[in-house]
């Protein structure tokens, strides 16, 4: 069943517990710059959770010259084959939100894998009651949802600008 992570940006507190649990799960360490979800804060109070939203046309997957990226059939997540990935960065350029990035130590591209269906970031955000991240489910792939999902595939700076008006009533960036 396809899932994805919806975001309620104004609710993000900037506590970055999502970065902690994500990097613990995927790297075995606390490692903010290797976390699949990263909180960008170009302006205090305007914290933006930034992670893959699984666009249904998957521009990153189709652009990869080495077939290193594939789609997880059960969740819809983008999976990275580390042996095939050369770190060329084509997928980063193809992503409308500049979400993928090169792993700071190992050189391959890093993309959210939805933890195989039970994302740690969502669990921790829900447990503490902030609910900035919510797990959305679809009973089957729905192309008409793509517009909605792609709304999250934006650069953090653009999200922050909108957020600024919502929170502070004016652009303070």
């Amino acid at each position: 069943m396809p899932i994805w992570i919806a975001r309620d940006y104004p609710r993000c507190t900037g506590c970055r517990k999502c970065e902690i649990v994500c990097s613990l799960k995927h790297e075995g360490r606390i490692w903010p710059e290797a976390s699949r979800i990263r909180i960008f804060m170009y302006t205090p109070g305007l914290e933006v959770p930034h992670l893959c939203t699984q666009c249904m046309d998957y521009p990153c997957v189709s652009v990869c010259p080495f077939q290193a990226l594939s789609v997880d059939e059960s969740t819809g997540a983008v999976l990275v084959d580390r042996d095939k990935c050369t770190g060329c960065g084509k997928c980063i350029e193809a992503c409308p939100g500049a979400v993928p990035f090169i792993h700071p130590r190992d050189g391959y591209v890093v993309i959210c894998d939805l933890c195989g269906g039970d994302p740690e970031c969502v669990k921790v955000c829900q447990e503490v009651g902030y609910n900035a991240l919510v797990l959305a489910k679809l009973d089957k792939p729905r192309p008409d949802f793509d517009v909605l999902k792609k709304g999250y595939a934006r650069k953090p700076i653009d999200v922050a600008k909108d957020l600024s008006i919502l929170i502070y009533g004016e652009e303070v960036i």
């Binding site: 104004p10 609710r11 507190t13 900037g14 506590c15 970055r16 517990k17 902690i20 990097s23 613990l24 790297e27 075995g28 360490r29 606390i30 490692w31 903010p32 710059e33 290797a34 990263r38 909180i39 960008f40 804060m41 170009y42 302006t43 205090p44 109070g45 930034h50 770190g87 060329c88 960065g89 980063i92 350029e93 500049a98 993928p100 990035f101 090169i102 700071p104 130590r105 921790v124 447990e127 503490v128 009651g129 902030y130 650069k155 953090p156 929170i167 502070y168 009533g169 004016e170 303070v172 960036i173």
Partner: protein, 626 residues
Amino acid sequence: MIYGYNGRVLEVDLSRGSVKEEKLDESIARMYIGGRGLATKILWDRLGRRWDSIDPLGEENLLLFLAGPLTGYYPGARICVSGKSPQSNGIIGSTVSSEFPVELRCAGYDGIIVSGKAENPVYISIFDDDVEIRNASHIWGKKGRETLASLLKEWVDRYGWKPGRGLLKEPGVLYIGPAGEKMVRTASVMSKWTHAAGYGGYGAVMGSKNLKAIVVKGTNPLPEAKDMVETEKLIREIWRLHLGFNNMRFRGTAAGFLSVAAATSSEPVRNWQEEWHDRIETSTAYYEARLWVKRFWGDFGCAITCLKIACIKSGRFKGYITDNPDYEMQAYLGANLGIFDPESVVYICALADELGLCGIQTGNVLGFAAELYQRGILDENDIGFPLRWGDVEAFAKLMHMIAYREGIGDILAEGTYRAARIISARKGVDVLKYAVQVKGVAVGAHGVRSGLDYTMETAYACSTQGGDHTSVANIPLRSGRVDLRESGALFADSAVLCAFNSFSVEGDIVFRLLNSVTGFGITMDDWYNVYVPRMLSIQRVLLLIGGPDAYWKAVEDDDNPPRFYDPLPSGFKAGAVVDREKFEKLRREYFESLGWDKRGIPREDTLVKLGLSDVADELKRRNLLR
């Protein structure tokens, strides 16, 4: 390698413009942990023998930014700023939250030691191993928000996006506002917009070194923990415990504005002339409904998020933004100045942030000036305008004058204690009795007269950090929790974590985390019997050596401000006062519990037992051990 540490400290000499790395020895890390504890060791070793001749605002002083082994691991990361304090002339460990310490640890360092003085304004830029001292003349003179925005933009334009590599998150930044640049002794080291390391006056020390900011980015993981499985388990356990700390989560410390006055009668009102009020507009309900635009706001790993963002969207103070404001700001820039209206309080707190002033120390000196005006000791000719209780515009104007050292602001910029000495000499009247401070440090907004707050009679009088309400001299030393008494504060400031995140957690869990990260095997007994006396003894000795512009006498200066011996005039605790006999008995007990003599001077056998025979030798040389 040392588990939980990078094992490296960065040394930046601004006089020479040079940068080098120093190794952190395992034995030192084990004995002094980090943060405030490590600061006592570094400052003792490097400056201890000529401490009295070191001008805190001179080139010789050191400015330390030290993290600890739990920074980033324990929920709620902090960095400890210290050096020789221009307020107490001893050591104060002043901590501030933000992602700065995490970035620093991920860049591969446990701390930064800044020495010397740059010829022109500079800032330090750290990007993993790449460390540079950069020109800061374009941001010198700028206020907080503009400084941060300018530094972040510069960094993001340069490193934030790399074709083929993707986006990098923004760096962590510490900076000073105009007050720090002017070496105002109540200036703080700032982070984000509203986070401040206020106690100690280290903003002025940064200014004295011509250092406007430090920008740091790290792309590595936190230093490896000894037992990561156990560490993760404990972190999650602490998060769950935080959920029970509901009042702090939902109302932050802002709830104190009303409750500390109406329920515990220990809030400064009009320069501590009263400690009680029941003004309903100070209730959080008014802030929530009118001003809070973010209900939960936190820093790295924090599950309590006691910060709330307040923003004024219309009216004469439109555009001012600050946090809650938290209790200390509300008390000192609100009630202490006779200001109770929520929007006025947010405005003046936001102004303090923008100017880079510590709200506690500055609120105290503003209240002190207003009391002198009330008593006719200072008049309109001295100040330039009437300074009446509750007049927010007048206090805002005076705050500007302090930050820029204009007119009488130049005197008040010296902090309450020094300003009182200057005004006493000029006016020929003793005004020190109106100065509510201990050893140069204005006391925090938790009075001791009512006996209902967490502060005991000895809280400020005997603290090695003077009036610091986050490190109070309460006994017994052993509380079983990392709380605000000196024995707990030392842990929070040395492992470097946010003490607000440890109130609701049994000490046992905190120590298990320390040991699972470092593998040191330190027990709570070790902590109270060895670590606390060791660190406090060094702090105490350097505080008593003091100088060159202020000296403290043992016992005589280990006392409460005179005001605390006046009975409370109002409220349900009217008449309450500090009982001198009881206080003196507690003071003796406090000194004794640390192995100090009846004057509070560490005994020779105590020092030798703690591995501090060099400190004992110095005391003998200075003829202090008698």
